[in-house]
Symmetry: C2
Subunit: 342 residues, 2 copies
DNA sequence: GACCGAGCTTACAGCGCTGTAAAAAAACTG
DNA sequence: CAGTTTTTTTACAGCGCTGTAAGCTCGGTC
């Protein structure tokens, strides 16, 4: 059984192809009788428009790519969900491109070898710094996500990481914590993605006239809970005293909670922990994790808004949008009152 | 600056379009000199082949859709990752279609209104039963995932849920647990997706000549940790005694751990808990979660294998493949020896 | 040296749809 | 009712690429 084409429907209905096309698209100027005749032929033949052909003719694909490091990391999977929902609401489908933090894969996202796949790209780089991103000029509109500084030439959506980290630190200080550590700086991280958060952490301490102790900045070799657990375990073993911990993300916090628990350190009694991203991982951790929560829905909506404008032809300079965040207080770092009363 | 087309390259290189096409595709019978000339023209003009046009000409899109209920559920996001990797290894890109468990959205996956978007679909239905799936006949090849029974007409990949659940129960019995509960049957779940697991749970008890107590089967109203926590909390409040718990997935187990902890019930001392899916959520839970682990990589590889064969024209009857699973033992339900020694 | 076949290259007709411009039909108008 | 305007329908040229079949080269053969 051969594929049914627009021309077949036209032949059966005894009208031109264009009229069939008009019916398919609900074009207003079609007489009811025509519409009926055509619709009947469509139903009879089981006609389904071929999107590839439509795309070739119109030059629009109705698809956007979402390029993220790893889809199974809670922050990215939750973000994907919102992006998918927002995209769907705007009539786009989402092609997920997993870069696995691989520089070559990331470069390929911007420097793509082929055209006509998607109308735009939402890209969260991790292995490229701002200059590299700026250098690769791409034909298709791009909106960047992520914490690191991005070229002024490109659209970019993020939360105010410095302020958020300051708030995290302030929250711990308000509980009377005095030795607050930061976990973790990732070795070889070229994006400076953690820098903003680290900066905010330091700023938060300075604001409160607290000393900065470089030993309180824990570093890790990669982005895994295993590594963060290792870093915390070693810090404890080395006798590093701390009563508060701000983590660069919930996965790090999760590893930290594990290390603290197995070392017999109480959370929040001995150490209060603040995570970042407010993922499901933290919502059900033990203790449940206080976390800095980017407004993911707003992030997704903003990214799609900017991308949509670019797709529609906006040519201006890069827009940099800050979306809101909040501190979700849970057990790992409760409100001051809760600690006092315990 | 206009788009560069194959014809433009051909004109600059002074050859035919087809020769350029042959160079782009690394077709062997092209003389080195031609290849050089053409390549130079390609580089000079910055030519990028238009995939939409290629797709129209070849009739292949090189894309597959992955239709899952919710991308941010750990099991699905982890599965997505493997599917994406396997697909990428086979030269396919993945279009993620989130059905949100919505019957209309699921029906749309099979009954699609348009052609030429993807070459095949990997679909994990949750709101359709076997008969409905069978009824909707689709033009594009489909491979089904998921625990429920599926029509013999379609390809289907799953683990042996009955055996896996039996093993979970056996593991608990080996520790001396005698009152083992099952969490949870989802009200209004038409797929029977949980049925296999429940069946295995019952079979496991029967195998050991243990009594079946219907009160030990906890039901929930939806697929959230909140709901499972509620169900466990109420069971405890109602005085339901149990010392083992098999959960239909890690998210339920996560909610259960929370409810048990807040009720002061020790895990694993008082109740040993087995989850399902072996997600990151359980790997870092407190206590770390013993879980039934489908081999997700094998699942993804098998699904893509079957789908690839269908795309390549295989027309035979539905294949039903069982992929392997294992029980990952962690703290929430340790080995018998570990319990005895504690 | 005419002929042959293998190796390269080319011309061109689609793939299925939409945009444009023009034709045809219908609806007004005075 | 001829002339004008408006609405509806049509014909057809692309969109950019690939497959096919035919044409051209050129070294090897007898």
């Amino acid at each position: 059984m051969r594929k049914v084409r627009l021309a077949d429907v036209a032949a059966v209905a005894g009208v031109s192809m264009k009229t069939v096309s008009n019916v398919v698209h609900d074009y207003p100027h079609v007489t009811p009788e025509m519409r009926r005749k055509v619709q009947q032929a469509i139903d009879e033949l089981g006609y389904k428009p071929n999107l590839t052909a439509r795309r070739l003719a119109t030059g629009k694909t109705g698809m956007i790519a979402l390029a993220i490091p790893e889809i199974d990391h809670p922050y990215f999977s939750e973000l994907s969900r919102y992006i998918a929902e927002e995209a769907s609401a705007r009539g786009y489908r989402v092609l997920v491109e997993q870069t696995l933090s691989n520089p070559a894969a990331e470069r390929a996202v911007l420097n793509d070898r082929e055209a006509g796949v998607v109308d735009g790209v939402i890209f969260h780089p991790v292995s490229m710094n701002s200059m590299e991103v700026a250098r690769l000029k791409r034909d298709v509109p791009v909106v960047l996500l992520g914490e690191s500084t991005m070229p002024v030439t490109a659209d970019h959506v993020m939360i105010d990481n410095v302020v958020a980290a300051q708030e995290g630190v302030a929250h711990l200080l308000a509980q009377g914590r005095r030795r607050i550590a930061f976990l973790g700086v990732v070795e070889g991280d070229v994006t400076g993605s953690t820098d903003q958060r680290l900066l905010g952490y330091q700023q938060g301490l300075v604001d409160a006239r607290m000393p900065l102790d470089p030993r309180l900045i824990l570093s890790v070799t990669d982005f895994t809970p295993e590594e963060s657990a290792r870093a915390v375990r070693e810090a404890l073993a080395a006798g590093l005293g701390f009563d508060g911990l701000v983590c660069r993300d919930d996965r790090f916090a999760t590893g930290a909670l594990y290390a603290l628990r197995t070392a017999g350190v109480g959370v929040p009694e001995d150490v209060a922990v603040v995570g970042w991203d407010d993922t499901e991982l933290g919502r059900w951790a033990t203790p449940t994790l206080t976390s800095i929560a980017p407004d993911k829905r707003e992030l997704a909506a903003t990214a799609l808004q900017l991308l949509g404008e670019r797709i529609d032809g906006y040519q201006g300079i890069g827009r940099h949008r800050i979306v809101s965040h909040s501190l979700i207080v849970r057990e790992s770092a409760p409100l001051a009152a809760a600690v006092l009363s315990s």
